[in-house]
Structures are given as C-alpha cells and as structure tokens.
C-alpha cells in the first residue's frame, strides 16, 4: 500500500501499532518483516537520505527542561545539517509560525502542555522537511489547544505543500483535517483510502427542530417529502437527480411545514459521511 501526498490520518486504538509504524518509517525501529520506503528511499538502508526530508514530532515529552525553546530548536536544526546562522534564523521563524513569542527564551521546564506541543511541532519543521510525521500531536491538550493544534497542522499541510502523516486515536479530529486515512488494528493494516468522496456531502438533509418532531415528520411525509425520524432528528432524502432546484424546492417545503406546525428549525444541513460509519460498516 502507499500513502499519497497531503494530510493523511493514521488511525487505530491505543496499542494498535501506530507509533511502531511511525518508528519504522523513521528508521528508529527495524521492521521485523517486510519493507518500507519513504520518497523512494528504503527505511533501513537509506535512513540518512530520509532524515533531511522528514520531520518527526514524537508522542512523548522530549524537551530538556533547562534549555530554552530557541536554543533547543536551533540546536536540532544544526543537527539536521543547517549552518549555525541559518539554524538560528529558522528556529526563530518556525517558533513564530507555531505561535511561540517571548516565551521562547524561557527554560522549557516551565511550559504548559500547549506550549510544549508547539515546540515539538516547531522542531519537526525547522529543517523544512517535505513530510511531517506527527505522533498524537493533540495528546494532553484542552479543547481550545486541540483546535489550535489542528488548525496549525492543517495550515502547514495545505498551504505550504508539506505532506503530513498524523496519528491519533480520535477519529473526529482526523476526519476534519485529513484527506486520506490509514487504519491499523493489532499491528495489521486494515485499510488505506482517500477520504474526499467518502465523507463528502450525501443526499440526505439533516434537520433538527424545536418542537414536536414526530408531528413535523408526519406533515413532511404528507407533503410528499421522503422524511424519516431518527431520535430527535429528522432525515430527508433527496433524489440524486433533483439538482439544485430540487433541493431548493424541498427546502421550501420544509420551511413551510415548520411554519405551519409552529416548530423552530434549529438546524438544516446536508449530511456528511463519517469515518466512523465506514469503520463500523467494516466490522
């Protein structure tokens, strides 16, 4: 199997082998069986060629507490073969890119988890790799921190042409930012696919109402709409060949029905496919 450029999610339960796969790709662990190549370079024999092309953000803590972020990142840049001056400049640039400003001169021992994760991302980016391998980048972050980290990853991957392989056990996260995904279970690769069409818009409208959903659904059916109640939500199927006009007509009916039944429309959107559905369908 091969992983395409773009942002790819590496999914699996804890202990499924995500980190091991990552370490094999980085040449930190030799595969017990089989082989792998990164940009056409064999991970066992051509590790050095890969090192310039790949940036690695490990899952675990890796920041010496008495070093400042600036010192640490520029030192690692030099360990990637950048000259001393360029290393300093790059370190300042990537730290700013990940959103670390004055704090970067302080010893890293006093950093919050969010800041530490940013430094870890910065050190993976400092030598300008073509591929970022991020192992559980949102681990330990609060919801706001998660959002920021995901946005940062998405921006880095989309706008700067750097491919990203990001592992997580949280499907929802990956679903939002990834273009493809790889599923691992018990050390075995289960499937690898592009996401685009799979989680694209489906022919279903999702409606949430404030009021009597059952009566509302019944009214919709009476007016000739293929409506179906699912718990508190109402799902409306639209014929695949109806086009934009058909969709608009259905929406008008829904609006009129809501007005007639005196229920409030809380939500009206086209339903998107979910990664979870795919995996559940698999099992």
């Amino acid at each position: 199997m091969s992983i395409q450029p773009g942002i790819t999610g590496l999914v699996g339960a804890n202990g499924a082998g995500k980190s091991t796969l990552v370490k094999v790709l980085l040449g930190l662990v030799e595969p017990t069986d089989g082989s792998a190549t990164v940009f056409g370079h064999d991970v066992v024999r051509e590790r050095v060629a890969i090192s310039a092309l790949v940036g690695y953000m490990p899952e675990h803590d890796c920041l010496p507490p008495d070093m400042s972020a600036t010192e640490f990142v520029s030192w690692l840049a030099r360990c990637s073969g950048l000259p001393a001056n360029a290393a300093r400049e790059r370190a300042a640039e990537v730290l700013r890119h990940v959103g670390l400003f004055e704090e970067r001169y302080r010893p890293m021992g006093g950093y919050s988890t969010g800041m530490a994760q940013r430094v870890k991302l910065a050190q993976a980016l400092v030598h300008d790799p073509r591929l970022l391998i991020l192992d559980e980048p949102t681990n330990g972050l609060d919801p706001a921190g998660r959002e920021e980290m995901l946005a940062l990853i998405q921006r880095t991957g989309r706008e700067f042409g750097i491919s990203v392989l990001v592992s997580s056990h949280l499907l929802g996260e990956l679903e939002r930012i990834c273009e493809g995904f790889v599923l691992i279970e018990n050390g075995r690769l289960v499937r690898a696919e592009r996401l685009g069409t799979l989680t694209g818009e489906t022919g279903t409208l999702l409606i949430e109402v404030d009021g009597d959903a059952t009566a509302f659904t019944a009214q919709l059916v009476q007016r000739g709409v293929a409506a179906l109640q699912e718990r508190e939500r109402v799902l409306v199927s639209i014929a695949a060949d109806s086009g934009d006009d058909g969709l608009r007509a259905v929406c008008d009916v829904i609006r009129d029905t809501a007005a007639a039944e005196d229920v409030g429309l809380l939500r009206l959107e086209r339903r998107r496919g979910h990664l979870e559905d795919l995996f559940l369908g698999d099992a």
Binding site: L26, V48, P64
Partner: protein, 305 residues
C-alpha cells in the same frame, strides 16, 4: 533564503503589502533552501553542545558548580608551587608528577558529575529519537559525545600542568635559558593529560550510557574508581600481589606512577619497587579507554528509543 516577494502569505496579503504596512503580519511558514552542511555539521553541533555542557557553559548556575570547583581547586596547587619556586629562587622545584597525581581524584569527580549530563540526560529527556531522525547516526552520536568528554578532561588535566610550566619558565631568572633546559617537558605534560582523558572518558562513558538517571550514573562512576582502588590496595596489603598487579587493577594508581616516571620523579615506594616500563602503563590506560569506548558504542547501537 528569503522567499521571493510574490509568495503569498497565509492571510492573503503578499509580501510587498506586508512590508508597506505598519501592522504586524503573520508571514506564516517559509521554505528553507539555503545551504546544508549535512552530517559533518550535525556532528560538530553535537560535539560543541557536549563540550559546553561539560563545563556548564550556557547552563544554569547549578550546572557550573562542579566544573568551576574542579578547575579552580586543581589550579591552586600549581599556582602555589610556582609561587614557592619563584620565592625560593628555584631551590624548591616544581614536582609536576606528584602534583598531577594528587589531582586525579578531582578529575574523577569532574567526569562523574559531567558524563551523565551528556549521556544520561539525552535518554532521560528522550532527545535521542529527535537526534537519530536527523543527520546523526548512533555511531556519530557516540563519537561526538566521547570526544567532547575527552576534550574537556584533556583541558582540565592540562590546565594546572600548563600553569606550572609557564610559571616555571616565566619566573626563572633567565626565561630563555629555562626554556632551553626544560622545553622538552611539554612532552610528558601532553602525554599524561592525554592518557588521563582517554582512560577516564572511556570508563565514564561506558558506565553512564546504561542509565537515564544521572545520579545513578554519577554514583556508578565514582564507585567504580573507588572500588578498583580499594581492591587494589587490599590485595596489595593483604595478599601481597605486588605493585604491578595492583596497578593493573587500579588505573588511577597506574596513572599516578606513570606521571612520576614521565617527569623523572620518585617516591619512597618506587625506590623499593621500581616501576614498569612506560609502555606498560600507556597500554593499560589506552586499553581501558578503548574498552570503555567500545562498550559505550555497543550499548548505544542497541538502546531502544
């Protein structure tokens, strides 16, 4: 290195707009297409960082305590000897061998405190995976760390000898004549500093590489030298194994004897018990250093990151 001005920043404004504006713009991520110096540059960065760490440079005040203490305390006897030499107008000779022999335990303290800073810390804070996914192989990591330790020890051992040497020539009534008569002494000075550094860096790195816990590593290094000395002395006193065997067991004692031999000095024990050939001691110290380096490398090749 700087991106062309046509590149668009993530906020949609081009570089030129950003420059014209007084507002701060997020320039986002920029590519690096400058020079890369590869594995050689990476090795140099590792070596320099190691050497600076050995002396506590760029580290907290706490990390500087042991290196500063060792350097200062080892310089004091050298300074005192130079003072005595000049005040007595050369009657009181500077005993290089005896001086450096007495200071070896200071260097043991130095390497015991600092070797774990280089080897254990990278394992403790799990920096190794970051290094090994860069232009750093396990072998180049081992060699950069070992050479940094060797250099620091060499400098530490050389400093008091060099102070005494320069002091002796400088305070002589006729420095030129003094240099003519003792200029060759620089040979033994370099030799003893080199052998001290080889043996101690080898032994210390072989021990420190096994644990991510710095305190354990420090204890192991001091313990190893103490136990070796205790066993050698015990066997010498009780079993009467003889000087040679005792020196083979205790590399510090062997260094002490070698220092006296190299500088042409003697102590009471040596008069009764003539020392072995210089080659014996050199082989002993270099062999021990090489064994240590081999063990360290062996371990680093296998350590799981």
């Amino acid at each position: 290195m700087t991106a062309p001005s046509t590149r668009v920043a993530p906020n949609g404004a081009s570089r030129n707009d950003a420059a014209d504006d007084t507002a701060i713009h997020d320039l986002g991520y920029r590519r690096y297409d400058g020079p890369r110096v590869g594995a050689v540059g990476a090795w140099r960065a590792l070596y320099w960082q190691g050497l600076r760490t050995m002396f506590g440079i760029g580290r907290s005040a706490k990390a500087k305590v042991v290196p500063v203490f060792v350097i200062l305390v080892s310089m004091l006897p050298a300074a005192a000897m130079v003072l005595a030499f000049s005040l007595s107008k050369g009657v009181q000779p500077i005993r290089y061998g005896a001086m450096i022999g007495g200071q070896l335990i200071l260097f043991v303290l130095f390497i015991a405190a600092q070797a774990p800073e280089l080897l254990s810390r990278d394992q403790q804070h799990r920096v190794l995976p970051l290094l090994l996914t860069r232009e750093v192989s396990r072998t180049s990591y081992a060699s950069a760390r070992l050479l940094a330790m060797f250099t620091a020890l060499f400098v530490a051992a050389l400093a008091p000898l060099l102070l005494a040497y320069i002091g002796e020539i400088g305070t002589a009534i006729d420095p030129v004549a003094a240099f003519g008569s003792m200029g060759t002494r620089i040979g033994p000075i370099l030799a003893i500093a080199t052998l001290t550094a080889i043996m101690m860096s080898g032994v210390a790195s072989a021990l420190a590489v096994w644990t991510p816990r710095r305190a354990y590593a420090t204890a192991a290094i001091i313990g190893a030298f103490l136990v070796a000395a205790a066993i050698a002395t015990g066997l010498d006193d009780l079993a009467g194994v003889g000087m040679r065997t005792a020196e083979m067991l205790d590399p510090i004692r062997a260094l002490r004897t070698l220092a006296l031999v190299l500088f042409g000095e003697t102590n009471r024990g040596m008069e009764m018990n003539p020392p072995a050939a210089i080659g014996f001691y050199v082989a002993l110290e270099v062999g021990l250093g090489a064994l240590g380096a081999f063990i360290m490398h062996w371990r680093l090749r296998r350590v799981v990151v």
